[in-house]
């Protein structure tokens, strides 16, 4: 276990040393790079709690072999949001304001999925939203407030945020 490799995460080069090469990107982000925003819900790609962007595409970090993601751009929720403490993107604020956050475990993954959705489809239909977040399981909310959050976010995104 004496390999070293470099991952590009949230725009920064991050060195990973002394790692077992079978570790998933999810494990490396959480346990080695101090980025616990992506959550380990199933480690099978079935819940979406670990969603990150890999070269701009929404993927499950648990299914990415970290050592093979060398050369890719990884974006986590920490990289997608305003840096200032307590600040939030339009999507994040919409989640809070519509009551779409209960336990919050699925939330960062959903934020990633919704940001990715609205980037490519700024005014998605209800069915399009449901399909876009169909890879993110939520057990607390029943999705109702989440769908409302996306409607609000679509409206407020692109306007000046604090």
């Amino acid at each position: 276990m004496t390999e070293m490799y470099v991952l590009r995460v949230n725009g920064e080069d991050r060195a990973v040393a002394d790692a077992w090469l079978g570790e998933s990107l999810l494990y490396v982000l959480r346990e080695r790079l101090g980025l616990p925003g992506a959550k380990a819900g199933c480690e099978q790609g079935e819940c979406g709690s670990c969603s990150v962007l890999l070269d701009g595409a929404l993927v499950c970090a648990c299914l990415v072999l970290a050592a093979a993601a060398v050369g890719c751009n990884v974006t986590t929720v920490e990289g997608l949001q305003p840096a200032e403490r307590g600040a939030a993107s339009a999507v994040q604020r919409a989640f809070v304001e519509t009551g779409a956050v209960q336990c919050g475990f699925c939330t960062p993954g959903l934020v990633m999925a919704v940001e990715a959705l609205l980037d490519r489809d700024p005014e998605p239909s209800d069915l399009a939203v449901r399909e876009a977040i169909s890879g993110n399981l939520c057990r607390c909310t029943g999705y109702g407030r989440i769908l409302e959050a996306v409607v609000v976010a679509a409206r407020t995104r692109g306007t000046v945020t604090t």
Partner: protein, 281 residues
């Protein structure tokens, strides 16, 4: 343990030869599930998902040449959506958006699960798998590619380089039965392709046998019963129903924790009937 990231197919093949215990990795949506579960000891990995030669989707000589590393997200779009719509339909049913952005058609083939979503379509379209190994390249018809549940014609050290999908002129479709409306492994699936030039009807069945199945007799019977025209095919409602029965008879379903053989066979009957009904318009 080593991770090798080759930049060409030849380099990948060499790496597999140099590390006999190596596993090829593309999207990771099958392999990493096993690794995370502790069910797959890893010696070395040859990561092939970003090899440029494997990325392309080209239209040439009446076929789609799809690189093994093409993800299902890309397969939902043109040119696949235009020239092999059944494959685009199947791609849309794979896992979730996250899975579709990572999972590749090469991986779907190499894993060779009888429930693989693209496989019945590739079978119905008469595709062939481009295989690369130290002995060079070879093409294996999809019909010969699957040898058992999760077993394929790939030899040690070989890699799926791509799949060549003939462009068929005519209606085609893919229907998949799952208990949930997303992220579900098929309990039964069916692909159908009507070729208005060759006057053939082809079917691929998923999750109802040890491998994807073809239902050739049923298809030959239906093609003979059909009324062929330049731009359409017609068939009576009774014959469509009989087609359903014949395709169902070709299935080899089992009972498992997802469903029963009885249900699967009845589902295939319904899928075949509805799929053909859609194709005859």
């Amino acid at each position: 343990m080593t991770v090798i990231i080759p930049d060409s197919v030849d380099a990948a093949v060499r790496a597999l030869a140099e590390h006999p215990g190596a596993t090829a990795l593309a999207g990771g949506t099958d392999l990493m599930v096993e690794v995370n579960d502790g069910r797959r000891p890893l010696e070395s990995i040859v990561a092939v998902g970003r090899i440029p030669e494997l990325a392309g989707i080209r239209v040439a000589d009446g076929a789609l040449d799809i690189g093994a590393a093409a993800t299902f997200s890309r397969l939902e779009l043109d040119p696949v959506a235009q020239f092999a719509p059944a494959l685009a339909y199947a791609a849309r049913t794979v896992g979730s958006p996250q899975i579709r952005n990572a999972a590749t058609i090469g991986g779907n083939l190499a894993t060779a699960s009888p429930a693989g979503d693209s496989l019945p379509v590739l079978l119905a379209l008469g595709a062939s798998v481009a295989v690369a190994g130290t002995d060079g390249r070879r093409d294996v018809p999809v019909a010969d590619f699957f040898t058992g549940p999760k077993r394929s014609a790939l030899r040690a050290g070989e890699l799926v380089a791509g799949v060549r999908v003939p462009i068929r002129r005519g209606p085609q479709d893919y229907l998949k039965v799952g208990v949930r409306n997303a992220m579900v492994i098929a309990v039964a699936s069916l692909a159908i392709a009507v070729d208005l030039d060759a006057h053939t009807i082809s079917v691929g069945l998923g999750s109802v046998g040890p491998t994807p199945l073809a239902a050739r007799d049923a298809c030959a019977w239906a093609a003979a019963r059909a009324d062929w025209d330049d731009d359409a095919v017609a068939m009576s409602a009774d014959d469509i129903a009989r087609f359903g029965d014949r395709v169902a008879a070709a299935a080899q379903p089992i009972d498992d924790h997802r469903s029963t053989a009885r249900y699967r066979r009845s589902a295939v009957r319904v899928l075949a009937r509805r799929a053909l009904r859609r194709c005859v318009g």
